[in-house]
Symmetry: D2
Subunit: 140 residues, 4 copies
Amino acid sequence: MNLTMDMMKGAMSASDRPMKDVDLSMMQEAVEALSACMQACLMCADADAGESMGRCAAMCSNCADVCDTMMRMMLRTTGYDVRVMTSMMEACVTMCRACSAECSQHAEMSEHCRMCAMACDQAVMAMEKMMGAMEEMPAS
Amino acid sequence: MNLTMDMMKGAMSASDRPMKDVDLSMMQEAVEALSACMQACLMCADADAGESMGRCAAMCSNCADVCDTMMRMMLRTTGYDVRVMTSMMEACVTMCRACSAECSQHAEMSEHCRMCAMACDQAVMAMEKMMGAMEEMPAS
Amino acid sequence: MNLTMDMMKGAMSASDRPMKDVDLSMMQEAVEALSACMQACLMCADADAGESMGRCAAMCSNCADVCDTMMRMMLRTTGYDVRVMTSMMEACVTMCRACSAECSQHAEMSEHCRMCAMACDQAVMAMEKMMGAMEEMPAS
Amino acid sequence: MNLTMDMMKGAMSASDRPMKDVDLSMMQEAVEALSACMQACLMCADADAGESMGRCAAMCSNCADVCDTMMRMMLRTTGYDVRVMTSMMEACVTMCRACSAECSQHAEMSEHCRMCAMACDQAVMAMEKMMGAMEEMPAS
């Protein structure tokens, strides 16, 4: 992840980025949490499918795709738009919360669901931290 | 697209889908509009990059990923959750509107931006139509 | 799809594209087949997961992602590289064939598997047609 | 990344996985290298687009998508198929090598290209290590 953050540091130092005042460590935390959540959701969906847990598999597959897209948007610093980012972060938090709630129902009998719920919760926390910081910024 | 809708019809006829009352033709329109928007955005981003239009390229790349994810969520009928879908549709509309606004600025000099803005506008219309229909449904 | 091909025509008319002699109708067929296969695979994986068909769901999820990426690479005309495209097309054909073989095993009892296998077969045919045309081109 | 590997360990311990003898540390190295390469390529493409480096941006965007899909296939242990995985790993190596070659041309003047080429090279090394280990396995 150090390479990513070295590149992010260079990208964010450009003067005309609408989110240039976002803390780099907060960004790193979010990118890492989204990446981990995407990976956990892909593996949980894969395990679910063999266990007839179709609802959980679909929620996890959706959550993996949403986290992937959210992470891609964070890495494209040139495209930052506060309104778009805020709206997508809200969707991402809603998705991760719903996936965590679904996985938590199976956490006692299924270890992959327990771990996937944890990854979703961490993604929610990282998103909310960043959304809090962004509220103080003017819309671009 | 007929194959997709044949499969969608089968999937939506299952009795326990939270969005089973959504009209199939409305769903088809949305999936087709998102697919076309994703493709237009990928090509516009590709053309932009060689023309030093970094902001437009980044907006289009983000919009392609958001439309891709939104379409995937629509095709996974087992994972329908009204709250999650609504939130993601709002993010998708916000993204497509912002991308259309950006592309429209270059529409006169750049044919790919003019067409990309059109594709974004059609995706917005299809999403809004579906969101209107969903407002009358109870949250799952 | 007309919009996509209008944009593709503009992009491919640029003089320095390594694959500029590829027939536009062949490209259109490939993009449409990949898009349809991606959509069929996403829906088949979704249905499989509730039926304890884990192996089929995983194959279909992989096939959806491979077709998505293959389609994205076709739409990015600026990035055409004959060696890379050929290698990715071979991987895509191998993936679609394996997914078709898996789905065909369940085709009699499962309508979504029958339709997904058809979509995979059509993607294979479109890829092979293009690969045949590309063999006559020099490596970039 | 620890959570991912905890989940991977559980998934790979299931007895019927065609690639169950692949070393877990080798898998971890590959997943981490692909994730890092995807992130570096996304950021490099984003920076390129503003600098009129269209060819480099397109190669990096393609490479990001290929690495994303390759990583997803590795995380779906239920879908392992030696022939498909081998073919996709060859495509991924071809893509990462081509992207590294492109970025290396701009490495002296562009720091993001220098770092992106490094990430591509590391992904190639991780893939080749795993391909070497897989050669000793029978086709599924």
